[in-house]
Assembly symmetry: none
Homo-oligomer: 228 residues x 4
DNA sequence: TATGAATGAGAATTCATTCAT
DNA sequence: GATGAATGAATTCTCATTCAT
């Protein structure tokens, strides 16, 4: 008897699928696709594109392997679908931050915390991005959908910094792109490399108190940098 | 039991291997092993453990595929040997920094610059580490050699910070481990994710002037953070 | 849906397979498995576990090599399946002998003849057992299925001997296990070692008249032993 | 520092080799060959021709792998050499039995006991023979040396039986070849199949008391058969 | 006579993908 | 839409044997 995998809360299944009554898992296109995507996300995040196994995804999703090709065409296209969904969800969340409504320093703090919290709650994204970087972002580059998803944060941060300068609370000359990269780096690197770092420092960096301490640290570093 | 001669600052493939020139069949165990290691480092850095191809390593190294098993036992053991060499070389280089001989703020700057320069010159290390993190550092954890290679930088940074506090040039209460992680993050993330970042910001982050700007930025961020 | 009829007394390769005729690609799991088992039995009996070639089994069975792993997992597990089938069939045949319905001496004679005839008709079993003995019965020992297939003949022979003693036609004190071993030995050794024996005695022991003579001899030896 | 493997007591090294003072194991042709033969005998007995590993033999013998080819030419020729040595030693031992000097029934008993004891003390021979039988005695057949080593026991047993008949202690009409085969079978099968038999009867047939009981049983069976 | 490095032909196993129903 | 069987091209690994010293 087949079971569908739990579906990640981040890239949510469409409301339609969600509203469906859970009956026998037969002949429900939307639901099958979501189950495959969820299983694929896990597998690709865990093993990378090369290490992922189509068989594992099929089994984990509860769908027949043939369905995977039916809906997505190939392993690579499935990988792309996963990437688009996860990456798109993050970009969407960023867009909903409304940083321009905040005081400049609050906006910086908000962004740092958002990045940190997002990665903490959705570590698969980090692994997907790490894998994609090992592929030189070749799928990101090839994706029409994702090419159009430029981070708008560059421009938004530019406005934030400009406002801060005008209010004399932010030092002048900060490159918004490098600022964004650093904000992301402080969280991403921590979550991406917890494994090797824990070994290197003989200190369990996966504990909740360590994580909270890191969050405070990241905010502090970035605020110290932007403040006048 | 084999021992390697002193390892050059970055283990790099010999020019011969790089040009895919077949080694003349000199029966030189050391040379063959080095050629295999060099080729393997490149392949594993490029493709990760799962994506790497033993055949490709053999061909690239100019050695017979059988030699790879003769000397290293299996693909995974070869991967471990590569990791140990690359990781060990970095730790060794860190040890030679002699940060304690510098003024506290100079030491911080020196460390940021060192990390940045090391990754810039040896990007394969980043890719190896990224791959290893996707494996949850399972090989790092399993390696006796590497387990003993705890970064000594935790303690060294602690001394640097203490000295800085005493001289009243460093703010109190900084956690040396998180400081080290942030220093590393600012460089690592940049080099590791240049590919996706360049897409996201439509800006070629691989150009030399961008890289230099990044270096300056990283130093600034960390100094702003530690300064009193 | 195709199904094979009850399996003939000795699992033997279908004539089709024997003639190396490619099965038409009917998608019939049961049939494919049986074809693989039959081909594997022949190969393992011929060459032993180490000498058998997975490629040869695949070709002989008419199935794709991949199917072999699909259904049996590995060469060793396939070997085990073959062993279980062949060994189980013999134990089953033994169980159907109903020795207790016969007069004691008739029962002994019946058992000797049965063993002899079984090995004569199914020489692959001898070769499988010889191979398995060279592996110290490691697969027999590891098989849950086979562990439970203790020969019941120990107890049955015990009853036969007891009845014979009571009737004063069998001498007392005979160990049923050693009796069984000897009965088996006289047939097994002959068929297993015909090759070397024929050389040693410059006498073709594979001829039908030699075989019949041997059968008579074996019966005589065992009856002379048990008779009072 | 290399060590030579212990050399089996059955096929003994030549006296010359034996008299050598044990110095460093360099450049002693005879000794190297004996070490290789001893290691090969163990490996071939354990694994069969197909399962045996040339590397294992070389390592176990303490000799360089190249030496193995230097002295024996190939894996198969080495196997043959092992077979010839082991088989020849048994035939030689048989020849030294001098059965004709004994009373007929004593001669039979002597032969049964000899076979039993020889296999007990030299179980590798059983495994070598079992392996060779799986190869259809192809090496025995091909060996000039072994072809000439017909068992003389056929003729000797014929004389023994004739004498027994004349003395009226042996029943007439016994085929000496089948008698010899049965005598061998009762011991060989027991030692060859102890592994599977122990499993089948849940009884440890490798214990010393079991073995002694078996010896008595074998003598009894054969004497009951030949006696008038 | 001895040694360790090297080789190429296989052998087992894996994997993404397609077919027949 | 869905399923399980089937496929062939890789892919890792093994092995007997030979070469250079």
């Amino acid at each position: 008897m087949k079971k569908f995998a739990a579906i990640s809360r981040f890239p949510r299944p469409s409301p339609a699928a969600k509203a469906k009554v859970r009956l026998e898992p037969v002949r429900d296109a939307e639901r099958t696709q979501q189950a495959i995507l969820a299983a694929a996300e896990e597998e690709f995040a865990d093993k990378g594109l090369a290490g992922a196994r189509v068989d594992a995804i099929a089994e984990q999703s509860g769908a027949n392997k043939r369905m995977l090709y039916y809906y997505f065409g190939s392993k690579e296209q499935l990988y792309l679908a996963v990437l688009e969904r996860a990456y798109g969800a993050m970009r969407q969340a960023e867009r909903e931050l409304n940083l321009l409504d905040l005081e400049p320093l609050d906006a910086i703090r908000r962004l740092v915390e958002f990045k940190f919290d997002y990665y903490r709650e959705y570590p698969r994204l980090i692994r997907l991005l790490a894998g994609e970087n090992m592929l030189d972002a070749s799928f990101l580059k090839a994706s029409n959908q994702l090419r159009e998803m430029h981070s708008s944060l560059g421009e938004i941060l530019e406005s934030v910094l400009a406002a801060g300068e005008k209010q004399n609370v932010v030092k002048p000359g900060i490159d918004p792109v490098h600022l964004y990269i650093s904000i992301t780096a402080l969280s991403y690197f921590y979550f991406a490399n917890r494994a090797t770092l824990s070994v290197a420092f003989s200190r369990d960096l996966t504990r909740a108190d360590e994580i909270n301490e890191r969050r405070t640290h990241a905010v502090q570093v970035m605020l110290d940098y932007v403040r006048v």
